[in-house]
């Protein structure tokens, strides 16, 4: 064998060793990546599931629906968490790479519009929301509040919540250029909580007493109104797998859909898709 052939072989082996995972660790592992809206459900369910199955290691990461879907296509996660359905381009990319994305709806959620608790506004309409987020309205007095600049908080483009909000509220229009684009539901909730003139939107599970959730078109964002379909800013939450769930992924999804799992969904502030009777 010539010298360069040896170098190439050594390089191949070395590079492969660098990337070797702990294949002999013994624990069965499962990786979930994606939506920060689905994150609390996945985290709570994973904790409970690992308690019941000590031989299982579940890793849950955020990043947004887009990141989760990209990870599923790339083979770096077992389950992609998404708060929106996959786009045609994502489906095309997945199918061309031999991935067959199958969606399982694990919960329903409402997108709650939140403001600082000191804000006197008691409700908002979809039209007003659109005008605020597209830049037509920039002062609270124009929507019935006290005079003051509206600080617009949005989710970033990797977010499924952003995509759904864009579709349901903005009707495809572009978010105003001065909107603060944040990477997670938690970041939006925290920023609104600390900024008196702010408006933002988060999944139901992120609504707390530190922010005020506004009724939209006269309907309060609650589990009941989301479940009944009365609240317009509602969407399903998904787990995407490559093909029908199998093995550990199936066990985990079955757990999330079980009465115990759906109870956790409810405790996390979301709407179960299966009744807990």
């Amino acid at each position: 064998m010539k010298a360069w052939s040896k170098i190439v072989c050594a390089g191949v082996i070395f590079a492969h060793m660098l990337t070797w995972k702990t294949a002999f660790a013994g624990k069965k592992s499962l990786t979930l990546t994606g939506s920060t809206t689905v994150l609390p459900i996945a985290q709570l369910c994973a904790e409970k599931f690992m308690e019941q199955h000590p031989d299982v290691d579940i890793s849950v990461r955020g990043g947004g629906s887009g990141v989760g879907i990209a990870a599923l296509i790339d083979g770096t996660c077992d389950i992609a968490m998404a708060s929106r359905p996959m786009k045609t381009k994502e489906l095309k990319s997945a199918r061309s790479k031999g991935i067959n994305p199958v969606a399982t709806v694990i919960a329903r959620d409402g997108i709650a519009v939140i403001v600082h608790p000191s804000n006197p506004l008691s409700e908002i309409t979809l039209v007003q929301l659109r005008d605020i987020y597209t830049g037509k309205i920039s002062n609270w007095k124009d929507v019935g509040g006290k005079s003051g600049r509206i600080v617009v908080i949005s989710r970033d483009v990797a977010s499924g919540t952003f995509e759904v909000f864009k579709k349901l509220v903005l009707k495809g229009a572009k978010t105003r250029a001065d909107a603060l684009m944040l990477a997670s539901n938690k970041a939006v909730a925290t920023t609104v909580e600390k900024t008196p003139g702010a408006i933002g939107y988060v999944g139901l599970g992120y609504v707390s007493s530190k922010v005020k959730a506004l009724p939209v078109d006269g309907v309060e964002p609650t589990k009941k109104t989301v479940a009944s379909g009365e609240y317009k800013l509602a969407r399903p939450l998904y787990f995407y797998t490559d093909g029908k769930p199998k093995g550990l992924a199936k066990e985990f999804i079955d757990f999330v859909l079980s009465s115990e799992g759906q109870k956790i969904v409810e405790e996390a502030g979301f709407v179960p898709v299966k009744s807990n009777e």
Partner: protein
């Protein structure tokens, strides 16, 4: 299609795009991206017993600026940078405008119209990700230019079942493909179907009528992917010039993904520029690996090590085989995605 019809058609598309742009204009967002390919190359003829060349080079670098005027109108300008170019100055840096186009989305469902200097939708050239360091077969053999000026219509088939494109180019790509710049545009059609996950089949046509001849190119593409294997195949047939010359080419490129960060790559090309002429064809064989040191994600930086051995073997026994050992560090970074 008559000359007048072509002029009217192009004017209509431009007017439609302009009207659309005016209607939706709003302050937008910009994104900046940079790619760099730093390469170590060793070249030798025959059986690699004596080296002919051994050098470092910045073989390729892109500076890309993208701007979204609105959700439906985006532009991209790409400048190609390299440390040396045999065709230009072998000592200094080179600079080329690689892409410069505007995308208009929403005019047709799931589709866009692209106007400007762009990738041609022919064969594998437009979705070539440089899994091997070498260019795609049609680009390498100068069958089709890697970028050209024109107007294209791009549409995704619903449910991710594939895509199709129609294009008109004026034939003035920044790399000329043995074809002079002239008044005759080239028309392209391309389709890809993904009937089942992991199987992609498709084909492309390019037709350009010349003064007394024509350029007619066909490509058939197939991709079979099921982790850990991803295999590309391509057949190319060309009919050009007067008297007409028929060319034929094949490319097969299997990739074995051993884990998310490491893959083995192989590739075999065959190209015969004139099937009626003897001893003018050649094979190209490539083997190597890709190691993703930092995995590239949308808007996130990435660093990748690529190592390839490439051997070009001629049908003509009097021509010595050419060997190349290429080791390339490829990195990319970008500002936040749109």
């Amino acid at each position: 299609m008559g000359k007048l019809t072509k002029v009217v058609l192009i004017s209509f598309v431009m007017a439609l795009c302009a009207q659309y742009a005016y209607a939706g204009l709003a302050p937008g967002k910009s994104q900046f991206k940079a790619y760099t390919w730093f390469r170590y190359t060793v070249k030798a003829e025959g059986n690699f017993t004596e080296l002919d060349e051994s050098y470092f080079g910045l073989e390729r670098g892109y500076l890309r600026w993208e701007h979204a005027f609105t959700d439906k109108i985006k532009c991209r300008v790409n400048v190609d940078i390299f440390s040396s170019d045999k065709e230009a100055d072998p000592h200094g840096a080179g600079l080329k405008l690689k892409y410069g186009y505007v995308d208009f989305k929403g005019i047709i469902p799931e589709g866009k119209i692209t106007v400007g200097l762009q990738k041609p939708y022919f064969g594998t050239i437009y979705d070539w990700k440089y899994v091997t360091i070498e260019k795609s077969l049609e680009d390498k053999e100068k069958i089709v230019s890697s970028a050209d000026y024109g107007i294209t219509l791009n549409t995704d088939i619903s449910e991710g079942m594939g895509e199709w494109q129609l294009g008109i180019y004026n034939g003035e790509g920044y790399k000329k493909c043995k074809s002079n710049v002239d008044k005759y545009p080239a028309f392209t059609g391309n389709v890809r179907f993904i009937p089942i996950p992991g199987l992609t089949i498709g084909g492309s046509l390019l037709y350009e009528k010349k003064e007394a001849s024509k350029r007619f190119l066909m490509a058939g593409v197939c991709r079979v992917a099921r982790r850990p294997i991803d295999c590309w195949g391509e057949l190319i047939m060309t009919k050009t010039g007067k008297p007409e010359i028929t060319g034929f080419g094949v490319m097969i490129m299997p990739v074995l993904k051993l884990n998310p960060n490491f893959e083995l790559v192989g590739r075999v090309d065959y190209w015969d520029e004139n099937i009626d002429k003897e001893k003018d064809s050649h094979y190209r064989m490539i083997g190597g690996f890709n190691y993703y040191i930092v995995k590239r994600k949308k808007g996130k930086p990435g660093v990748m090590l690529q190592v390839n051995y490439e051997r070009k073997q001629y049908e003509d026994p009097n021509k010595e085989a050419e060997n190349e050992f290429l080791m390339q560090l490829r990195w990319e970074f970008a500002t936040n995605p749109f």
